[in-house]
Amino acid sequence: MNLSYRIGHVFYRNLMSYKRFVVPTFIASLIQPLFYLITFGIGMGAYVGKLGGMPYLNFLVPGVLISSVMLSSSFECLYGTFIKMIHEKLYDSLIATPVSAEDAIAGDIGWGTFRGLVSGTLMMAVAMAMGVFPSSVPSLLLSFVLMIFVGVLFGSLAMIVTSFAPNFDFFSYYTELILTPMLFFSGVFFPLDNFPAWMKTFAQFLPLTHAVEISRAVFSGVYKTGLISNFLVILVLEIIAFSIGVRRMTKRLIK
């Protein structure tokens, strides 16, 4: 893989174009998770009462926060990258410079990660405003690290999808059939404890489940050793997804 520091140049390009869209994207990446927090957290929370010894809103925040990272980085590397590749033909001019196709794709995954980090940070601010805090300052810092890992993972997975996509509509399969259902099977809205055994096993194959586990620990302050394996799952998946995503996209760009 022909990667270099020029990944940063691609990131810079995205940053330059981003400054025009900051406000709309801030709003967009806040709306959906906020919607979940308000409807589920406050509306349903009134009925649910306490869950696992805490108010429902407190249960909800860690999962919704990390899902917003997942969605932002995914969308950026699906729609964002597709527009740049097919409609703007940006990559065609990029790869004629010393920036390699691999640099360009990795730069975009980095960018997707940044977008995820921005969404997650905004959600964190909202959560704090609603009175839900990470357990400590180191936990808060850990949550940012987690957001970066989750961003790279879902950015890379989205890149694999984009590398196959013939058109925009294709992305619906991924978002509707994989990402959205994942929200419900990964313990974001309710604990997995009451699921039948096979569903629990299934949930272990979903990367979001592991991210939610760690995010919960960030807020509860209860760090069990099992979290290491959660982290390792994310890390391994991420390395695999990144290398497949970059390779597949490079193949699509260079003919």
């Binding site: 140049h9 390009r13 001019s93 920036v99 260079i254 003919k255």
Partner: protein
Amino acid sequence: MNTIITANNLFKKYGDLTAVDGISFEIQEGECFGFLGPNGAGKTSTIKMIHCVSPVTAGTLMVDGLPAHINNRVLKKKTGVIPQEITLDIDLTARENLMVFSRFFDIPRRVARERVAELLKFVELEAKRDSKINELSTGMKRRLLIARALLNEPRIIIADEPTTGLDPQARHLIWQRLRQLKRQGATLILTTQYMEEAQQLCDRIVIMHQGKILKEGAPSRLIEEEIGREVAEIRIAADQDEALIAQLGQFACGHERAGDTLFFYCRDGQSLWRKLNELDLPNTVHRPATLEDVFLKLTGRSLIE
């Protein structure tokens, strides 16, 4: 003159499709070299291999002493590409487009700022520096693409159909700029479907068809060799051909029937023209031979799609 690009038995295949079918050519430093050909002739595939964005399937391609290769960042630093399609960054202004692109070449920001200002002046877009791309006309976009291709002060400039879709004013401005770059010592490689463009700009051309090079040489020499100096076009029904060729054939060095027209090619058209006047045929045109005649003769007159 030094040879700057050498291709030897060069092939490009996309799956089963052979786009470039074993061509060889040499390009000298400081010349303007043109690839002419109808759609699908393999021109763009060839130059994409030269500027290292498309891998060579077989054969050798040396650019400035180095093998052209998709990961050859050294070569990519030396080449400037004016692409066929408008690949400007529509999220950025004209100036930002150039600033961001200069970053891709690791040009320090201070140097870049000066160079961008100079280049915007060079392509007469100073007034539009802060305009968004979709506020620019096609001609302006093309000029901005030229400025972008020059950011890294390339020794080799590759222009893929640089004036497609432009009005005459815009086209002439681009030609002037390209000639100016050549005078400054750059090697210019051009693909075009416009024969006038090739005649205006190129020292030497190759005519490509179906992945192969049919002819190579200076435009004027190719016209002279393939066609002669003058052409008479007679729009007349095909059943008259035999009679006309019997009468006029002796004054011409060749003739061809295409659609509703009978063409006579000749070195010196005076006697032919005199004879034509005697015959008093309606619908005749007598004109100098052009590269277009060569092109159509070699690549055929039927539509290529």
